[in-house]
Amino acid sequence: MAVASEARRSVVRERTLRRPGFLRRLPLHLTVWIVMALWLVPTLGLIVNSFRTVPDMNRAGWWTAVFPPSGFTLASYEQIFRTSGFVDALINSLLITIPATVLQVVIATFAGYAFAWMKFRGRDLFFIVIVGLMIVPVQSTFIPVLQMFAAAGLGGTFIAVWLAHAGYGLPFQTYLLRSYIGSLPKEVFESAEIDGANHVVRFWRLVVPMSIPAIAANTIFVFLGVWNDLLIAVTYLGQSPNRPLTVFIGQQTTSLGGNWQILTAAAVIQMALPLLVFLGLQRYFVRGISAGAVKG
């Protein structure tokens, strides 16, 4: 037995050590390069075009600017900052995203702790409803919620979108945080109980510090989700001066018709924050999106 597995292992080692010739692997490398190019080129095209003038964009494709004379200019950026509504929309995006994210993550952490470590009647039923709500399309709530906001005098306000985002995002966040907090070691909570620490102390001194990886990943994930959201914002703020950047760009594209090229700079600015967050915190970001799926 030992001899057989030893023999197999040496075969394994030999196989991994043997580097197949570059030529034999060329099709593989070519495929990978082509895939990478296909996925990078569209974004590259937008970024290059955002530094060109609209007449240039209409005269020749973005790839002609890669070689001189490029005619690169910041004109699109200057123009978009002068376009009425853009700066407001940019500020609105932040004003919507930050509170909506905080609200969602904090409430979900409270609930995640309770669902994971407290026993109460109806717990399983509540939680199954939450699991079901993760799938319910937000669209099926729009009409009554719009009417509710109108009746409460909140139509088109920031508060309305904060609450709506929190309401729609909470089921998924609660689900993720419950599974993370539920996987913390039991002994920690038992000794805290013996020490007489109350639940507020346990929560802030134990649960939160030990759950930082999950909370950070979820915060990034929610932040980008709200920042990039179009549907909820256009539904509740579509006619409001409080509309965020995504709604501004979307409405300009559909209303401008043939003149949408001036939006290149706006699109680059809109995606700059998510891309920086992604490149800077790639590990957390990947963890954030895979947590739900892998833990399932």
């Binding site: 197999r8 895939v35 996925w39 095209g45 004003l95 990039n228 549907l231 559909t254 998510p274």
Partner: protein, 321 residues
């Protein structure tokens, strides 16, 4: 003073204080109750905000939408008229047909590419770079992605220099340019391609994580025993990845049924590209609430099988815990 500065201050300082204060106050109150009652009430204090939000923003409105779907725009009862309208109106039928296209091909390509890319990237040393490239569109909003793809699909009349990347490429090989987003044989595929471009990274990252979990010795043992690469893939890798592939497939089915942003920005649903979610949006914007509600209920029924499947899977997991 700009009133938004006040809003910002309330938002950034007020919201956390409110939430922390809520829990403090709740516990302060509980501590003044007899121990047994406090112990029984405490969990409800902690879950109350989440349950309240879920109830007010999801459960009750969904139920309410169901009732609205049996009314006309003014709130008079009309029986099943809105559903009859949905299944006889050419616009809604087109959007239904397009959602089926999205469901099959968006899901198929995302899961298929996700699987293929994670397997082939696994074999090169610059794997992390390749993965980053495919993953990069994920943090990009659908709105920005649509602007990005407008440049890919841009069409200029034949004879003029093509400024769209795809048409210029076609031209380089001597083909006529195609009006990708207007031509009815290509436009739905063009929109689905944008979705695939955005979402493949998601599928790839998750499949790749599962792939790394398969023991290398197992795969080598199969190869040593004479299995071809194709057999290894089909008889070992894919069966072991099945649970992961199922999760991703259901996630993508939901995404396909709810697709909105890409269609809204790139075509506004014109030229036969409309989808259910955009129809719904349009009808809400026109205050055509009864018909909008019927569209919402159809969407809800379409996702219901996935919902039940997820709940079932969740209960099985809980039993194993």
């Amino acid at each position: 003073m700009d009133p938004r500065i006040l809003t910002a201050a309330i938002a950034v300082i007020g919201v956390p204080i409110l939430l922390v204060g809520y829990i403090r106050l709740g516990e302060w109150f509980l501590e003044r109750l007899p121990r047994r009652i406090a112990g029984r009430m405490r969990p409800y204090v902690w879950v109350f905000p989440a349950v309240a939000f879920a109830t007010v923003f999801m459960v009750l409105p969904t139920v309410n939408t169901f009732f609205i779907s049996f009314q006309d725009a003014r709130g008079n009862p009309v029986g099943l008229d809105n559903y009859v309208f949905f299944f006889t109106n050419p616009e809604t039928l087109t959007s239904l047909k397009n959602n089926v296209l999205w469901l099959i091909f968006f899901t198929g390509f995302v899961v298929g590419f996700g699987l293929i890319f994670s397997v082939i990237f696994d074999r090169v040393r610059y794997e992390s770079w390749a993965k980053t490239a495919v993953f990069l569109p994920l943090p990009i909003s659908a709105v920005a992605a649509s602007i990005i793809w407008k440049f890919m699909y841009e069409f200029d009349p034949p004879g003029r220099p093509q400024t769209g990347t795809l048409n210029a490429t076609l031209g380089a090989f001597g083909f006529e340019p195609v009006a990708w987003l207007i031509n009815q044989t290509t436009n739905n595929w063009a929109l689905i391609a944008v979705g695939v471009w955005t979402s493949t990274g998601f599928a790839m990252v998750i499949i790749s994580a599962a792939l790394k979990g398969i023991s290398a010795e197992l795969l080598e043992a199969a190869r040593v025993d004479g299995a071809t690469e194709r057999q290894v893939l089909r008889n070992i890798i894919i069966p072991l990845l099945m649970p992961t592939l199922t999760v991703i497939t259901t996630t993508m089915i939901i995404t396909a049924l709810k697709v909105f942003d890409i269609v809204y920005v790139l075509t506004s649903g014109a030229f036969g590209t409309d989808v259910i979610a955009r129809q719904l949006f349009q009808r809400i914007a026109n205050s055509d609430y009864g018909r909008a509600a019927a569209v919402a209920v159809v969407l809800l029924l379409a996702v219901a099988p996935v919902l039940l499947f997820n709940v079932k899977r969740f209960r099985e997991q809980e039993e194993r815990r």
